[in-house]
Symmetry: C2
Subunit: 510 residues, 2 copies
């Protein structure tokens, strides 16, 4: 056994010392071919059905059999083990939606604690294992359509005399946020692994510190060539698609990169070094785009004339129209999801909550828009979307170009019983959200940006009949909840009932 516990009888070696868990695939077609042959010779656990049946009430919710087995078949089990160890250390409190590749969501009570999400509560959507990279040997390679291809150390990137540093407040959101709403109504693609059944917690906000990619390209590489249209990012994680093996790769347009400070190479998150699970020692942060483009454990940037061929870029995160599905989906009939639209969520109360109140119910939530549009207005409706109340400006956190606003509102609620609350947000381009989940359903179940809806059961204590019933429950030392548990005592005296039935008889007289 070697020092890191990996058997010496390994099939695929790590090329670089100090880059534990990083197998370089993209420069080695023969390794990719061998891996493909090995995978083709194995049987793997089928993807379990999880959309047409209720989700298990466990944590982890889903088990990533296939990705684990792929790694094991290639002799890379140590990556799986290290990843889970890292989850338990860095993200013990998340809702573990999928154990490997790790997908974890922030709990509701930790989502709105402050404008910046504490690192240990920030959601994670990984596509492969977590590598363990020594920052002292770390170097970034920049190749392709640049005037000067380079390799640059982290130390050099962090040298303030070479590159000015930036700090940007950025909300990162998985394009699968709130996918559970689509699954519940209309199941779709389970993807090669499992498309995590995210709720409203696949979003988080942090201050990232690093250097602008634009400036690195200009200062270190002498700029990009005129035919450079896309910047491709490679991560150290191993990815799989249809039996083939890859390093994680995505791309963003040069036009995005050349905007000031919109694409950052970041090493700090909320004032501390990036956690391992967030891409230590260096990641990309692409503002206003889906989280998938903010490549973690960045190994190489490749300037290209077109977008990345990597499967994550070219064959996934596609936005299909409503009539595209298993029967006709192709890679070219969906469009690539890059910028995120305006969206929002009610985080408190929660769906199906019973609320005893005195005519007002407090709602709290988040609102975000991508593409550099900031949040202008948040509106909530107490009646499914007929009447809307605007959240007062003083009840919203400050504006950012690339970050959410948290908000709170005391909503006047007179009626009792089941009500449907929903929220919609307007951004600085006057965009707002589609009305129903159905309005924007799509086969890969991405971008659930429709008005977030919850049902709550309203008990208005300011009404005499309700106050009386609540008092009777209290006097008997009982609880109102659970709602579905019947009261065990008579709901009305016989005399009272008889009196009313005489006053308002059942049938007409004639």
């Amino acid at each position: 056994m070697s020092e890191n516990g990996v058997s010496p009888n390994i099939i695929f070696a790590e090329e670089k010392t100090g880059w534990t868990g990083y197998i370089e695939w993209e420069k080695y077609p023969e390794k990719k071919q061998l891996a493909q042959n090995i995978l083709a010779s194995h049987k793997f656990t089928p993807i379990p059905e999880f959309q047409f049946v209720p989700l298990p009430d466990t944590n982890p919710v889903l088990i990533g059999h296939r990705w684990k087995e792929y790694h094991e078949a290639l002799g890379l089990k140590s990556i799986v083990d290290f990843s889970w160890k890292t989850v338990l250390k860095e993200k013990p409190d998340l809702i573990h939606l999928l154990d490997f590749p790790y997908n974890g969501e922030t709990r509701r009570d930790q989502l709105l604690t402050e404008k910046l999400t504490p690192n240990k509560y920030h959601f994670i959507r990984n596509h492969g294992g977590v590598p363990d990279i020594d920052k002292d040997v770390y170097e970034l390679e920049i190749t392709g359509l640049v005037n000067q291809p380079i390799k640059i150390s982290l130390k050099d990137l962090q040298d303030i005399n070479k590159f000015p540093q930036e700090e940007v407040t950025v909300t990162i959101q998985c394009s699968g946020t709130r996918r559970i709403e689509q699954i519940k109504e209309y199941p779709g693609d389970g993807d090669e692994l499992i498309n995590a059944p995210w709720g409203e917690g696949a979003i988080g906000t942090a201050v990232y510190r690093g250097v602008s990619l634009k400036k690195v390209l200009k200062i270190a590489c002498g700029g990009v060539k005129s035919d450079c249209k896309h910047l491709e990012f490679f991560g150290a994680d191993t990815y799989f698609k249809k039996g083939q093996v890859y390093n994680y790769a995505v791309s963003v347009p040069w036009r995005k990169v050349r905007q000031s400070d919109e694409v950052i190479l970041a090493w700090k998150m909320n004032g501390v070094d990036l956690p391992k699970i967030h891409g230590y020692p260096l990641r990309v942060v692409v503002t206003g785009y889906i989280g998938a483009r903010s490549c973690k454990w960045l190994t190489r940037i490749n300037a290209r004339s077109d977008e990345s061929d990597g499967p994550v870029q070219s064959k996934e995160y596609l936005y299909y129209s409503q009539q595209i599905g298993k029967q006709n989906a192709r890679y070219s009939n969906g469009f690539s999801i890059q910028q995120m639209p305006v969206s929002s969520a009610i985080i408190s109360p929660v769906d199906k909550q019973v609320i005893i109140h005195d005519g007002f119910i407090t709602l709290r939530g988040w609102s975000y828009s991508g593409g550099g549009n900031w949040v202008e207005r948040v509106e909530v409706s107490p009646d499914g979307g007929h009447v809307w109340y605007a959240v007062p400006q003083e009840n919203m956190t400050e504006k950012h170009y690339h970050a959410w606003r948290l908000w709170t509102i005391d909503l006047p609620v007179d009626p009792e019983g089941w009500l449907e609350f929903c929220v919609r947000t307007w951004d600085s381009s006057n965009n707002t959200e589609p009305t129903f989940v159905r309005s924007a359903w799509n086969w890969d179940l991405h971008v659930t940006s429709s008005c977030h809806r919850i049902k709550i059961y309203s008990v208005n204590r300011s009404r005499p009949a309700t106050a009386q019933r609540l008092k009777e429950i209290e006097d008997r030392g009982e609880e109102f909840s659970p709602l579905s548990k019947p009261l065990e005592w008579s709901l009305e005296g016989e005399e009272e009932r008889f009196k009313i039935s005489k006053r308002f008889p059942r049938e007409p007289e004639n």
Copy 2:
């Protein structure tokens, strides 16, 4: 041990020989009081939560702990045992929603086999145990506001020289039919026992043979007194409410009874003696009313000046308005559910079914209206209720005053992906159905008469792209289903994808 296996050490004896399982409570206040004391001294299993959580995938779906334990506490376990034995004998194929008191629903494939539901497939909603009554000793008592109170044997009732006999085709429906739709969206009252989570199968149609109650009252009792306004029916089953014990009792207005042949005392169902579980040897059949009024194992009819005090009549089957619930529900702020409104259901296809078709999808279902209104028109919508297609008359079974019509339609369906189908029916009073479950939600979750909606996934084989994908799946020896299982091979050739991406580039040129 006695002959029927009941211990001689019994607390509550059966008063009448040949009426096994019938404890007469209503004439014995001291027995009722003793039973109440016994119940008060016991702890019973709490009602399980079943509305805020997924239903178990078992048969029986729910276990009726409390009703069983009530019976056991009173020394009546033999009733529980006989009831279940009867279920297994007479209703082996139903979906057993609740084992005791027995609630069982017809399976979909057996629901529309013919206009008349075969007895063994007809749904059952019992409120207590099944008694075992010897028809040769059976007698019916008629008391109260009649000119001549009587006791009459079954043999006399069946004497064609004394009473003309009737055969009527009648649909009986539980007022809880399709309750599951309300539960899924908005949980409500679990009731003293468990309000069964019925689907679309708590409805059935049979030809009942018997005598008109109107004629029995006239011929045998010399008519009713002028202040008779309600006829109360007592069953042999034991019922419980808030710790007290009763015989099952309900009532219907005299005005209903005096309509020709609308209230029948029936002993035959579809040409054979009533099955034990359906009320053998004699039951009431109240046409156009909720099933609960069609009292089984009829022991007594009581002519009254007002409706029954029995809890089933006066404290249950109440129809509340939307803002009434646990916080304010009383018996007098709901109205009693007697006549059933127009309603319908799509039985085939089923919700979330994937359908491969060539531009038409066949829908089948039932439509019914109570109160003597017959079904005039059935309409289905392929788009959630915007466009409606009328079912052709030739595709509907014949009209009845008191029975459903079954129907079928080939619905033109062009679009692919998830669609929402719904049905609405118009009756002979031009009534039709509320649009959404929410439109008619009520705390006791009764009368789910809103348009029945299902989601289906449409795969239109008449489209070339779909035909090609289906062929590829077939050529590989694979199956299209399950929908949520991804295809394991590439959805598009690299060359094709590249060509299309050149023709329609990702970003604008300028």
